[in-house]
């Protein structure tokens, strides 16, 4: 029986969605495991050491950084959201807890978010309609929390025309609708 159980995506489908609207391609990412990592008080040094041994980058404020297996972006002082391939890190929180010990508090976040990869020649016309991030002005690797259609999201800039957007999973359809509506308007 257990073999017949298959997780659905945030949009309620069996397979991740890809949709094209104007110049925009939205790809739902179903293959990313997420966990939050926060240094316990006074333990930042220990966390940094432990993170280094497992190749976990802990970037500075408002930045995203990629390692070999792990990638991470800053969410708050001494706190990060960590990304890893779902196939190898389905139990990412357990893996990180083992590696980081009591220097950090770790929470499972994989099923809390929907991840959309955004692709267009230039994302500025889209994002200026959706949020208050000055997308052309910020550097590649910029990561920030922002509001999109009243939804608290994380936006990570990977290039002039590539970005990843994390939104609340329970509002995945609303967020997708906002992206589609803004793309219709932009292109």
């Amino acid at each position: 029986m257990a073999n017949a159980l298959k997780a659905r995506t945030a949009l309620g489908a069996h397979d991740p969605l890809q949709v094209m609207v104007g110049a925009l391609v939205v790809t739902e990412r179903f293959d990313v495991a997420l966990a939050s990592v926060a240094a316990r008080r006074g333990r930042m040094g220990d966390l940094a050491k432990a993170a280094e041994t497992i190749g976990l980058p802990l970037p500075e404020a408002a930045r995203h950084a990629s390692g070999e297996v792990y990638a991470a972006f800053w969410t708050a002082p001494e706190m990060w959201l960590v990304e890893a391939p779902f196939a190898s890190h389905e139990l990412i929180a357990e893996v990180l807890k083992q590696a980081l010990g009591d220097a950090a508090s770790v929470t499972e976040q994989t099923d809390a978010w929907v991840a959309f990869d955004l692709l267009a020649p230039d994302l500025a016309p889209l994002l200026e309609r959706l949020c208050n991030v000055d997308f052309p002005a910020v550097v590649v690797g910029y990561a920030t929390r922002t509001m999109v259609e009243h939804l608290g999201c994380y936006l990570i800039k990977h290039g002039r025309g590539t970005a990843r957007l994390y939104g609340p999973r329970s509002s995945a359809k609303s967020l997708l609708h906002a992206l589609e509506a803004a793309a219709h308007s932009a292109w």
């Binding site: 408002a62 969410t75 708050a76 002082p77 208050n132 929390r145 509001m147 608290g152």
Partner: protein, 94 residues
């Protein structure tokens, strides 16, 4: 209105939630300070026309609490600090 976040730089005020007077940081010990001090903490606020130190929460950002010094007449913001730093400077441990 733009709030210059000490870590993240200029941020639109719509990302923040306003709580109130910064004196909320100085909660007296309810068991030892006496009822007058706690009543004062709970109910009494100054209402200055001028510089006002107040707590703002960066809810749609990094979830930090800030102490913002704002002129209530002109809305000019002259100083923004992390509430954590302000509390620690007062000798608080948490």
């Amino acid at each position: 209105m733009i709030i210059h976040h000490p870590i993240l730089g200029p941020r639109d005020a719509q990302e923040f939630v306003y709580l109130g007077d910064e004196s909320l940081i100085d909660r007296p010990d309810g068991m030892t300070a006496g009822i007058e001090a706690f009543h004062d903490y709970a109910y009494n606020r100054d209402n200055p026309a001028g510089a006002h130190r107040e707590l703002w929460y960066h809810e749609q950002g990094d979830r930090s609490w800030l102490v913002v010094t704002r002129n209530t007449v002109t809305h000019e913001i002259t100083k923004v600090e992390l509430a954590r730093d302000v509390a620690r400077a007062k000798g608080r441990t948490k």
